[in-house]
Every structure is written in structure tokens, then in C-alpha cells.
Amino acid sequence: MIEPFSLACPIPITNYSHVTLAHGGGGRLMHDLIRKMFLSAFGGDNTSPHDGAVLDPPTGARLAFTTDSYVVSPIFFPGGNIGELAIYGTVNDLAMCGARASWLSVGFILEEGLPMERLWQVVRSIAFATQRCGVVVATGDTKVVDRGKGDGVYINTSGIGVIDHDLDIRPECVREGDVILVNGDLGRHGIAVMAKREGLELDVELESDCAPLWEQVKSLIDAGVEVHCLRDLTRGGLSSALNEIAEGSHCRLFVDETKVPVSTAVKSVCELLGLDPLYVACEGRFVAFLPERHADTAIEALRQAGAPSPSVIGIAEKAGETEVILKSCIGTRRPLDMLSGEQLPRIC
């Protein structure tokens, strides 16, 4: 548990209202920033600066290890900011391995000129998110780049998670006949961030789905669900995740488009811009592969754990054929392919 911390920015605005190159220079200013802002927020050990964290994992436990860099623009978006995203993203990657996140590293690349107040907001969000996930920021780093060479803040987080069950959760474990579950509606994060970045004036309230997923994954494991594979639906959305799993499992995956939950707001924006929600990024959604007989238990467990709209969307149809097939809303079947690049808004 971290110490309660002040809502006011701990770097007095009269001293430095903006990040300067000196804040990454290794001198007193950098130490002030780390001590007063980062350590006070993340609850680290103030007294004995060291080159790394020494961890004490449970004896014999399997560990999961992951890293991700966060460069989202804008850094504040409806429903979240880059700070929460950097924590939840890495916590979720560990959760998809069936691991509870235990230790994180947080590396900041700050752009000279970033208002200190903005940085403080990001740092507070990180502190809130780590507390929510029960994860410790064990080590960190700060660099400052010249103005114009960054986008305010970039964050890299790496995480180590502990696996305290016997399930083997990975694409290779998908079996013919497994059902495919999704925990909620797709596309909110991608559309909310794009709308904010591009200044689209939408008549609908749309917030990012950015959220930690471990509690939902844990609820499946605790309910005795035999989880075979998990994947969060980040870049490339549902279609990329399923194509990767099809490749890993050598299974033909079948998805019924009418069963995939998508909010009216996301559908409408996608229609207007010529985008497909099945390719839009989420930050709080995942697919789970599990035996059909566990589907009801899984849906109930997910619902209890706060999943917005857990639904069975398809099935691992046939082993030995690597592809993803979509049954469209008019009943026809077609391949659901991975995109070759980014989705681009259409001319007309």
C-alpha cells in the first residue's frame, strides 16, 4: 500500500513550471524530481538509492515477464491518460499469461517544456493505477529530450507477474470445440483517442475502455474455468488477436459478427469514417478460449468481476486449419483477415 500523497504538485511551480533538460541530467534537479514527485507518489524507498530492485519471488512459482512502451497522442483522452494506460497495459499483458502483476518498472522519456503540472497528473494516475492493481513500482528511469523531439511524455513499463495456478494459458493450448468469449464491447479506446486527437466533434459521449483485467482473469481461474488461452484486444483489435491465436493454435476460428458486442456510438463513428470495429484497439477487453461446458460459469464469473458484457462470440471450429472465419450479419461466411497497415478513414 502506498502512502497517501498530496494532490498538489510537489515541485513548487515557482521553481520549475516546466520540465527542463536538467531534470534528466543526473544532478540535483533530477534527484529532486525523482524524490519529490516519483518516490512520493509511488511509495518507493526514499533513503537508499540503488541501481536496481532486488525481488523476492515466492519459491518455485512460475513468473511472467513483459514490456511495453506507451506513446499515445494525446496523452490525456476521454476516460484515461498515458499514465493509467502504461500501468494497465502491462498489468493486462501479464494477466493474459495468467499472471498477477507484482513488480513494475516505469521509464519516462519527457519532452523539455512539458508543464510540470501535466507530469504530476500523469504521475498521480500511475500511482492510482498501481494501487488499484496492487502492483509495486520497483524501479524506474527518467530521461529528458529536447523540445520537439518527443510528444510530451513517453512511458515504458516492464512487469513481472507471479503465476500461482497450474493452468497452461497460451495459443498452443486452444482445442477444437473451445468457445471464444469476449468480456465487453469493442472499440471504445481506439475511437475515443482518435476522436480527441483529430478534433472530431461527435454528438456521443465516448470514453476509453482502459481498465485493468487481472481481477476478471482471476475470477475465471477461481471459478475453476479451464482457461486455454487469453489475449487482450489492443492494436489491431479483435481480428489481429484472433489471427495470431489461429496461427499459434493451428485452428480454424469461427466468429459470429452478430454476437460481437459493439456500442451504438462506436458503430456509428465507424460507419461514418469507414472503419471496422473488429480492427479497432481496446485497452480493457480480452478474448478467452475455454471448453464449451465452462462457458456459463465463465460468463457468470466475469460478470461478477465487473466485465461490462461478457459474451460467447464464436468457437474454435476445426483443428489443423489456420484461419479466422466470420459469419456476417447477413449470414454469409468470409475470412476475417489481419490488416496490412493501419485503418485509414475513407474519402467517401
Binding site: G331, R334, L344, C348
Partner: protein, 372 residues
């Protein structure tokens, strides 16, 4: 989602497909004009639902596909200039010219931006008076009114640092080119609903009469397309050649008069080169004389150089309905969305890209198509 979901209703689709199967007695070839319709047909698998006697071919109505490579090269040259902010709709950025695309210009330091409206580009010009803001005005009649409005407003409010690189094309001359070709196989058309929202459909009546061909103004959802096909087939079976309107929830015969007025105020009809097809007289729009100060080609004095297309690419035949994407020997092998040889593979609405994305893995569809 009202006005969308009821047109994607499985039961309505089945009923229409059954009606279509009953209506078709002879073998017919029908072309959908618009890339949006091509995309919908392949994405929803509508061509799997139609009777075997009916063949759908895909028309030239993808503005990204038909923009000539010379104009892409001009765009690349203008966008690379240090004082230029080059604005475009998203899907033009990936179209390769003879040396790279707009994304590669951006990667080399060019200020290339995706906008959602030409008026956003005009707002940028107002906000950055020290920079030249150029908008890539691509499209059929659908996008012409907004592009015209941007120039009209720029002139009225004296925004001197704004210009258009114009590549507007028109549907009726393309239909006439296809129909007058000695190799033509198209017997009926689904006209592009959105184009007709702006232009109405009176322009198509002389074409239907002259070439004895039914033309049905059609929308973009599965129910629209099947209903358009049914109307077209009924005309063909009954020997009628009329212009009919399936998309009556949006289109009236006269079109949108205000939109046509602003087009006529700013643009005039000019000859245009179509990628894969060649020059078609009176087939495009260019800026009128009193708006030529906003013509980026004149302002930046970029020279056209004729560029040879890949000899392996058959996009010209595809755009005229003479071939289908999977009939191309390099489809999906040497020509993919990552390494497109021609524009029909680049744009998401291009016929080749649509087939690649939605058909590549299911061989049975392609072979069924070939039998028709």
C-alpha cells in the same frame, strides 16, 4: 443504428435473394459503379447469395484507384516542399506514385496531414498564414461540393495560402466509356447512390436511352444492393432500359441543387486521365478561371511526366469490368496490399484489395466466380 441495421437484416436479405433467384431467367452481367458497393458486396458476401446466371463486375468508382499516377507524383513533389502543409483524406496516403507514397514523404520530414474535410484544411491555412496549405481534392461528384465550398470560402475571406490539387472525376463519362467500348460486356448498371445524392439521376437518362441499358441508382447496404440488382434484373428480363431509383430514401431525380450550384460556381468540366483507363474527354472537374489562383498545380508549377504502369497490372481491365481480381496472374502473389502493383490493390475500396482481404483464404469463392 437506424437506417443501417434494417438494411443489414438477414431475413430481408434472404427474401430478396430468393426473389432475385426467381426473377433471373437469362444470363446477365451487371456492374456496380461505386467502390463502396464493391466493398460491401465482397465484405458481406453478397455475390455468394446471387443466382449463378448473374455475374457481378466491379466498376471504376473508386476515386483512389482512378487517380492517375502522374497526379500522385505531383502530390508527392508538392508535399515534400518545406513551406507546404499537405492535407489529404486518409486513404490517399498509401497510394504509391512512381517513387514512394505520401506516408514516405511524411517520414522524410514533409508536413502531411490526414483531414476529414477540406474545410479543416482551410482552417489550418487560416491558423498558419506563413505556410502554404494544399488540399488533395480527390473524388467523384460526392466530394466535389465540400471541396468547392472550401475554395469559395477561401476566395471570399481572402485566404491566399490555401490551394487545391484537383483530381475530380465524373461518373456518367466513365459509364459511357465502358458502354461504347467494343469489348463491353456490361448489360446493366447499379449507379452510385451517394453520387446521385448530389447530382440526381437525370444525367443518366440519355445514357440508358442511347445504349439500351438499365441503370438503377443503388445504396450501399446488403438490402440496397440486392434490391438494386432485383430492379435491374427485372428490367433486363422485361426488355426495359430505364433509370430507376432504389435509393429513394436519399436520392431525388434533380439531386441537391445547392450542392450542384456550388460545384458549378467553382469547377468546370475538363478532360481527365483515369488510372488504368486513360484520358476520357469531359470526364473531370477543374477549377474555373476565376478560381485558378487556388490551383496548386499552377501555384507550384509542377510538371507532369508520363509514367509507365507496371506491365503486369491488369487494373485497367478490372476497372472496366473485363476481368475480375482473381483472374490476374499476380493477384495475391507479386501484388498484395503491402506491395501493390496497381491502384486497385491499394485503396480499401479497390476491387483487388477487397478480394484480397475478404476472399484470399477461401478458394471455393474464387473458383465459383470463375465459373460464371
Amino acid at each position: 443504428m437506424k437506417y443501417v441495421e434494417e438494411f443489414r437484416n438477414e431475413r430481408a436479405v434472404r427474401v430478396l435473394a430468393a426473389e432475385l433467384a426467381r426473377a433471373v431467367r437469362h444470363s446477365w452481367t451487371i456492374m456496380e459503379i461505386c467502390g463502396g458497393q464493391t466493398h460491401a458486396i465482397v465484405r458481406f458476401g453478397i455475390d455468394e447469395l446471387i443466382p449463378p446466371l448473374l455475374t457481378l463486375v466491379h466498376g471504376p468508382g473508386c476515386p483512389v484507384c482512378v487517380t492517375p499516377i502522374e497526379l500522385i507524383d505531383k502530390a508527392l513533389e508538392i508535399a515534400a516542399r518545406p513551406n507546404v502543409t499537405f492535407c489529404s483524406f486518409g486513404d490517399m496516403l498509401r497510394v504509391p506514385g512512381s517513387h514512394g507514397d505520401l506516408f514516405s514523404v511524411k517520414a522524410r520530414g514533409g508536413d502531411v496531414r490526414i483531414v476529414y474535410s477540406p474545410l479543416d484544411a482551410l482552417a489550418l491555412a487560416r491558423a498558419m498564414p506563413e505556410r502554404e496549405v494544399v488540399f488533395f481534392a480527390v473524388g467523384f461528384e460526392t466530394t466535389a461540393p465540400a471541396n468547392a465550398m472550401a475554395v469559395y470560402q477561401a476566395k471570399r475571406t481572402n485566404v491566399r495560402n490555401f490551394s487545391l490539387l484537383v483530381s475530380h472525376v465524373l461518373v456518367p463519362p466513365a459509364i459511357e466509356t465502358i458502354l461504347s467500348s467494343t469489348t463491353n460486356r456490361v448489360q446493366g448498371f447499379l449507379a452510385a447512390g451517394h453520387v446521385c445524392t448530389v447530382m440526381g439521376y437525370y444525367e443518366y437518362e440519355p445514357l440508358a436511352a442511347k445504349y439500351n441499358v438499365p441503370i438503377v441508382v443503388t445504396g450501399f447496404e446488403p438490402v440496397d444492393i440486392l434490391e438494386g440488382l432485383l430492379m435491374c434484373v427485372r428490367q433486363l428480363e422485361e426488355g426495359r432500359c430505364e433509370v430507376e431509383n432504389q435509393y429513394s430514401r436519399l436520392v431525388v431525380r434533380e439531386g441537391n441543387r445547392r450542392a450542384q450550384e456550388i460545384i458549378n460556381e467553382v469547377f468546370t468540366v475538363v478532360p481527365r486521365k483515369w488510372r488504368g483507363i486513360g484520358e476520357i474527354p469531359a470526364s473531370g472537374l477543374g477549377l474555373r478561371e476565376n478560381y485558378q489562383e487556388f490551383d496548386a498545380e499552377l501555384r507550384f508549377n509542377v510538371q507532369a511526366t508520363t509514367v509507365a504502369e507496371s506491365p503486369e497490372c491488369i487494373s485497367g481491365l478490372i476497372l472496366q469490368g473485363l476481368k475480375k481480381p482473381h483472374e490476374c496472374p499476380v493477384f495475391g502473389t507479386r501484388c498484395t496490399p503491402e506491395h501493390p502493383l496497381g491502384a486497385t490493390m491499394v485503396s480499401s475500396e479497390g476491387a483487388c484489395a477487397a478480394y484480397y482481404r475478404y476472399r484470399r483464404q477461401s478458394g471455393q469463392h474464387a473458383s465459383r466466380g470463375e465459373q460464371r
